[in-house]
């Protein structure tokens, strides 16, 4: 279970990215967080793994509560929370397998990570993660040589190699074309359904949110303005979240025709 209690994040520049957020997420949920850019979506999910420190309130993930974790506890928390990024964040010059093995870093002794000599067990976990997203045949290809959709699948495999309980995805399809976006979303949905991993996905396309989410959370200027089942999140709800009428930019399906 993930629980936000009056969570506040104020950046050094004075921007209030999260203001008094109360939110409870049950195990196994697939939640899509929507909101305009700057609404605090990235901050919300980065508050869960401590990449962004809270300036007020607290976030409880499982049995750990932020803030107040020591360095070691914070790393243990992060090891249980996989993360997927908008820009994929792969090391382009190394192989796909090496990138996926980064997901094992918390579990391997230093001498192995520093020498790059991972155990057969860790390699097996990485290979299985690649099989799950169906890019295992690229295991020894340089990550930079893959297409965007393949790179994001490697990003998912890297997160899965952590064998996480929670998966955070920060705009995972914002750099992809519409058909590829659906492929990536389907993998995330499948992982949530089959492995039971609690999944939080930041999106701004309302059709993707409605298609794949169980529950939609709307953020506006750092505040929670909507929390409800995806089925109830109609256009009026999105207009309320975005604070303006919808445009073609808010719908993925409209993108292909532009």
């Amino acid at each position: 279970m993930i629980q936000f209690e009056s969570a506040e994040v104020t950046y050094p520049g004075g921007v209030h990215a999260l203001q008094g957020v109360d939110l409870t997420i049950d195990d196994g949920e697939l939640i899509v967080v929507v909101g305009l850019s700057g609404a605090g979506k990235s901050t919300l999910i980065r508050a869960i793994n401590g990449l962004v420190p809270l300036t007020g309130g607290q976030v409880t993930v499982g049995e750990r509560t932020l803030p107040g974790l020591g360095r070691r506890e914070l790393r243990e928390l992060r090891a249980e929370v996989g993360m997927i990024f908008q820009a994929f964040n792969l090391v382009h010059r190394t192989t796909v397998l090496s990138n996926v093995l980064m997901g094992r870093l918390h579990h391997v002794p230093s001498w192995r990570s520093l020498s790059g000599l991972y155990s057969p067990e860790d390699r097996e976990i990485a290979m299985q993660a690649l099989e799950l997203v169906e890019v295992v045949e690229k295991a020894y290809v340089r990550a930079g040589n893959l297409s965007g959709g393949q790179q994001q699948r490697v990003g998912i495999a890297r997160a899965l190699a952590q064998q996480p309980r929670v998966l955070l995805a920060d705009e995972p399809v914002a750099s992809l074309d519409p058909p590829t976006s659906h492929v990536v979303m389907r993998y995330l949905q499948q992982i949530n359904r089959e492995l039971g991993i609690t999944t939080l996905i930041n999106l701004h396309f309302l059709d993707l949110a409605r298609t794949y989410a169980d529950r939609v959370i709307g953020l506006r200027e750092g505040r929670l303005v909507y929390d409800g089942p995806a089925a109830d999140a109609d256009e009026a709800v999105f207009e309320e979240i975005y604070g303006r009428s919808l445009t073609a930019d808010d719908v993925l399906e409209a993108q292909g025709g532009l």
Binding site: E76, N89, V91, G155
Partner: protein, 307 residues
């Protein structure tokens, strides 16, 4: 599900907008730039002027001075264009490289031959050891790679001190510490390699993609593991290229260090120089040049493959 039919934001009208716009004036050059240019011009003038601080160099009189200098020397400089001289020099090289009675026969146990081999050995070993030490130091020498500010400051200061000391001074120092031979040469050039490679490589760290580093941290990796897996692969090509560059510099450095007793071809050159045997010195320069050109070609082709 019906897609909303809202319009995209309209482009601004091409007709002049209500609010008049003003083009800004080009900002004047920075005072620092102006001051620098004036300063450099003044320094050049002070140096070239014919007075107590001048170096007695007059660019207008230079061509005349060259023409008036020792005709034999000028001729000596240009006699490579003379076919007879070239034939004589080739004969000299042939004799010395093949004649078993020649004191500087080009063999592995002659003064010149062993000196050349030792020069290459010094350069290779110094580069290997120096580069191996430089990779972790380069990571620690960057703001991203250092685990804390103190480490960053200490490493940076130490490396600045290292680079302030010229390789010849390092060599003289190590000759005192470990006595003459190839070892002080290797140690001196190792320090030099560290100075060059750490400085250049750590500058590259500032330009890397931070995404993979964030991903490693998000996976719960320790700082060292995150640097090793997310940063090092990104700086490796630059590091390899700088190390090869350091090797080329080391090959030149290894030739000079012999003058302070740190082994290599410089020691042979120093020996013949003191014997006033300038023919031998010229032969050493000749074969050394050939060696440098060959090694540099190898280095260039290796670099092309790496980067």
């Amino acid at each position: 599900m019906s897609a909303p039919t809202g319009e995209r934001p309209r482009r601004p009208s091409p007709v002049a907008s209500a609010r008049p716009q003003r083009r800004p004036r080009k900002p004047p050059p920075q005072p620092f730039t102006l001051l620098g240019l004036v300063g450099l011009a003044a320094f050049t003038l002070v140096t070239a002027w014919d007075w107590v601080l001048g170096i007695g160099f007059n660019p207008i009189a230079l061509p005349g001075e060259l023409a008036d200098s020792n005709p034999a020397m000028v001729e000596g400089l240009f006699n490579i264009t003379d076919a007879d001289w070239r034939a004589d020099y080739a004969e000299l090289l042939r004799t010395h490289f093949t004649d078993p009675d020649s004191p500087w026969l080009l063999s592995l146990d002659s003064r010149i031959g062993s000196g050349l081999v030792e020069t290459v050995q010094i350069a290779v070993l110094a580069t290997l050891v120096g580069a191996a030490v430089s990779l972790p130091l380069a990571v620690l020498n960057s703001r991203l790679g250092a685990p804390n500010r103190t480490t960053h400051a200490v490493i940076k200061t130490l490396n600045n001190i290292n680079r302030a000391i010229p390789d010849v001074i390092w060599a003289a120092l190590f000759v005192v510490l470990v006595s003459v031979g190839a070892l002080p040469g290797i140690l001196a050039l190792t320090m030099f390699t560290i100075g060059v490679v750490v400085k250049l490589t750590s500058d590259v760290v500032d330009g890397v993609d931070l995404g993979p580093v964030e991903a490693a941290r998000a996976a719960g990796a320790s700082h060292a593991a995150a640097m090793r897996t997310a940063l090092v692969p990104q700086i490796l090509p630059s590091f390899a290229s700088f190390s090869l560059y350091a090797f080329e510099l080391n090959l030149r450095g290894a030739a000079v260090l012999g003058f302070v007793g740190a082994g290599g071809i410089g020691q042979a050159m120093n020996y013949y120089w003191s014997q006033l045997d300038f023919e031998a010195v010229s032969v050493i320069i000749f074969v050394y040049l050939v060696l440098v050109v060959i090694v540099e070609q190898v280095s260039i082709s290796v670099r092309r493959r790496l980067v």
